[in-house]
């Protein structure tokens, strides 16, 4: 788990990333955006079950997009 290796990973759509990295926190390099600058495609550069391990691994990146790729286990009460 973690780094995707030496070769540059292929760019995937956000739904593809959600499917491929299910239930993990992912860091992507955004490769395509929509008219509102919202990410639509990206390369997964790191993925981890633990959010804080991911943050440590992404410290070396100048710019990266981070999100959880999974269904929430619980209802939100925020």
């Amino acid at each position: 788990m973690g780094s995707t290796g030496g070769a540059k990973p292929e760019a995937l759509t956000i739904p593809e990333i959600l499917e491929k990295c299910k239930d993990r926190w992912v860091a992507i390099e955004v490769t395509e955006r929509d008219g509102n600058s919202q990410p639509v495609k990206g390369r997964v550069v790191e993925q981890e079950v633990d959010r804080y391990t991911l943050a440590e691994k992404t410290a070396k990146y100048g710019e990266v997009c981070i999100f959880y790729a999974g269904e929430l286990q619980f209802r939100l009460l925020l």
Partner: protein, 145 residues
């Protein structure tokens, strides 16, 4: 009505979220699908990300000798403490806001979201949340409250 200077309109699924880029004082940037919570006085980001954006003082809160910029807050179930920092710039599409106050605080990972956009940013916006249609619209206004 104050005319907007920039606007973003985007769909959302269950919760109102929008991808937001936070640029720190070390020049690094982090982007997140940030949860919009208008009743939160401040925006929130994880402590470790605050550290990575150039705010090492946010990495830990010392209970005995808190920093002057330590914020005590009330949430729905407890009091909490976090370090108040100013993110150099927040970009949401064509909208840019500089020097936005964020509290470095760790929301439980199981929430699935750990970055919140609260009033410290939203006071610069006119915000429409259409839950029936699953769309949100943000407009930056020239004179924040």
């Amino acid at each position: 009505m104050i005319p907007p200077t920039a606007a973003v309109e985007t769909p959302f699924a269950k919760y109102p979220t929008v991808f937001s880029v936070l640029r720190g004082r070390n020049g690094a940037a982090r982007e997140y699908p940030a949860l919009i919570i208008p009743t939160s006085d401040y925006c929130v980001l994880p402590k470790v990300d605050a550290f990575n954006l150039g705010y090492p003082e946010a990495a830990s809160v010392d209970e005995r000798t808190p920093l002057p910029n330590t914020l005590t807050f009330a949430s729905f179930n407890a009091y909490g403490r976090g370090t108040l920092i100013k993110i150099e710039r927040v970009d949401i599409g064509s909208i840019s806001v500089e020097n936005v106050e964020f509290v470095a605080f760790d929301i439980f990972q199981t929430a699935g979201y750990d970055v919140v956009l609260g009033r410290s940013l939203l006071r610069h916006m006119r915000l429409e949340l259409d839950f029936a249609a699953g769309r949100l619209r943000m407009e930056k206004v020239t004179a924040p409250r």
